[in-house]
């Protein structure tokens, strides 16, 4: 999943006051796990998951794991 620079720069972690940077994020669901590069707070690790990602790629992956 590609994120535009602009999109990343638009958000700031409120607690840490930090801008977001790309981080390797690990996911798991049912019996599957994988990782993706996603914007996150460099300090506390709060990850940005966009609507596009949640309703798109993530939903597809959930479906694939459920039907496996």
């Amino acid at each position: 999943m590609k994120f535009s620079e602009e999109e990343i720069q638009n958000w700031k972690c409120e607690t840490c006051g930090e801008g977001l940077v790309m981080r390797k994020v690990e996911f798991s669901y049912m019996k599957g796990s994988f990782h993706a590069e996603l914007p996150a707070c460099p300090k506390c690790g709060l990850v940005l998951i966009t609507e596009e990602l949640a309703m798109g790629k993530m939903a597809e992956a959930e479906k694939a794991l459920e039907d496996k």
């Binding site: 409120e14 607690t15 996911f27 669901y29 940005l48 998951i49 949640a54 959930e62 496996k68």
Partner: protein
Amino acid sequence: MEKEQRIAWEAQCIQEEPPACSTTCPLHVDVRQFMKEMAEGDVNEAYKVLRKNLPFVGILGRICTHPCETKCRRGEVGGALAIGSLERFCVEHYGSPDRVKLLPRKSKTVAVVGGDVAGLVAAHDLRKKGYGVTLLEPGNHLGQSFRKFSEDLLPDSVIEEELGALKDMKVDVRFGATLDAAAFEALCTEFDAVFVDRTSSECASLPLEKDNDGLIGVDPITGGTSCPGVFAGGKEGEVPIMLAADGRKGALSIERFLQQAHMTIGRENDGPYETRLYTNLEGIAPLDRVRCADPDVGYTLGEAVQEATRCIQCECMECVKVCQYLAHYKKYPKKYIRQFFNNEKVLLGAAHSSNQTINSCTNCGLCAEVCPNDLHMGEVCLEGRHAMLQGNYMPPSAHEFALQDMEFSTSDEFVTCRHQPGTQQSAYLYFPSCQLSATAPAEVLESYRLLCENLSGGVGILLGCCGAPAYWSGREALFRETLKTLRQQWQAMGKPEVITACCTCQSVFSEHLPDIPIKPLWQVLENNALIDNACREKDAGKTIAVVDPCSSRYDPEIQNGVRRILGNLGFTLEELPLSGELAECCGYGGLVFNANPKLDNAIVTRRAGENERDYLAYCAMCRDKFVNVGKRTAHLIELLFPSVAGNDPWARGWISWSERRKNRRRVKDELLVNLGETVEHTVESYEKIVLHIDSELLRTLDSRRILESDLRQVVFHAEQTCKRLRHNQSGMFRANHKMGNTTFWVDYAPEDEGYRIHNAYCHRMNVTGVK
């Protein structure tokens, strides 16, 4: 699914049974496929289909007496297909026969005594299977029975060419063979098995036991004679195709004998038999047989194609024709059953796509209703859901939302069980249902008031859920628990007669709590003259289409009663294509709305388009689901209680899942107030949060199954912890919070006293680490 169960279910589905033409054919030619190829004008492929089952196809294709035509189902709508003429056309058109492909040579050898049709076919079949075959013919010619036909019908050149195949196949043909007892004994020693063609008169002298007609006696199933390893068939005067079938039977028996296999098992369908295939001819326009322009020449290619096109390609597919779910996955029950079984028992739940297929059946039972053998795919799928739960591979997303909704309806938020205000006993117990209370709370309260005023002996009320979602989702323990609670409540109320306003509740009670007497509200209102027939004066003459819920399928009394009530109110009724015993499900059944929203939407959208009139439903979910796709639909209870403020049944729009919960609470609260009880709710801090959401977004969030309480909890959590992202330009917040198995994300900003919701979405995948 146990193997025995799989076999029993599979046997109920007869889609794979061959059509009558094939089972009537002594050699089981795939006439349906032959017709398909011919209809496409592919004579070569059609020839291949014939050749697969017919030996000496150029001969049998010309002279077969085509018993198949007597059972051709096209005969019931027009005229039976000219199968014989088309076969003739095909073999004439194709010309010289192809070489017969032989299996690798086996060490065993067989003697065939007598070279008429049965002997020729036995020799052909056995040689094709790889056995060494010696054909002993006492005369000078093979195929005597073929030579009785006129040259026009069967030219000698064709006979020679076709029988020439035996030479190509390296069958050792010996003419002028002596057939006495000594020669026969020598044959039995030299060869591993013998087939005797009884058509030759010389064979009568062989030392084998005879039957009453003086023929060599044979076992009707195997063709076996009194001598082990010696088989016989054929009979003077029989038509060639029957002689051929005898030869084939003998060859099959010899193969089994030489392989030391069981001689009789699985041979019920060796010769002609009655097919179990059901083919519905309704709606098939009659078509007469295509006549040849020149009967002396026979069919032209154009005529042959046209005639073959008349074939209706017999099949069953009755359930698939009426069930969008079965059609969606492009299979028929026998295939689904095999797929589910393999997924469960062979792949242990690891096969792609079975899970959603099993969860996409509405369990409405329409398939069983139209199936000639009553196969109920709902039962198959329910068993599949049990196995998924047991094997721990049921996707949590499939039923979670529906079960949470049920949990609400079986919690203190809704459950209420009380005698009528001012009384201590109940002759009746009103059980309006969780879903009707969710969509028509005022009408539920009004109907209760009416019952209280007019029925004697006290009308208690029970708010709760019948447990259908637990049943559909395969949660057996939860379902049993729910039924147990209902029974206890009913007993505590003095075992009154239950009155329900929901067909699903009615069917759950009837089937699973059969000792509890239950009646539909509509019947009680009608029988006690509690319906004001003039109450819909302004709608008089309005034409509407009635939507029978699937759960009313076997309750014609309810279906007729509703129609009678509507008629008396002055409505003119139209019927949907499928109603009454053939009622369809709206997609709520089986919780398909939860497990497969896309299919659910497709089902209800198609059904909404089936009649342009406004719909009238008497199932709360049917009403709400049709309205959800924009179809003007009212619920019967709304027609009967126009006194309710704001009651305009046809104009009432869609309703959100959050609203449904609010309405259930409202029914409970108002009942308790009427009873003079104090209503107390523990209000969580997050519940006090005021939200501003525009209606379009609300609709989107509802379709994502995000409740207002979910939004409040996310906002509350973010406000408490400050764990959130902030948009640099707009100042909007984006926060997430995991509740249960779902992580919710909400975009929001403070506005007035509360918060403006800009968007929300959710996912089930868990973030387990950030590097």
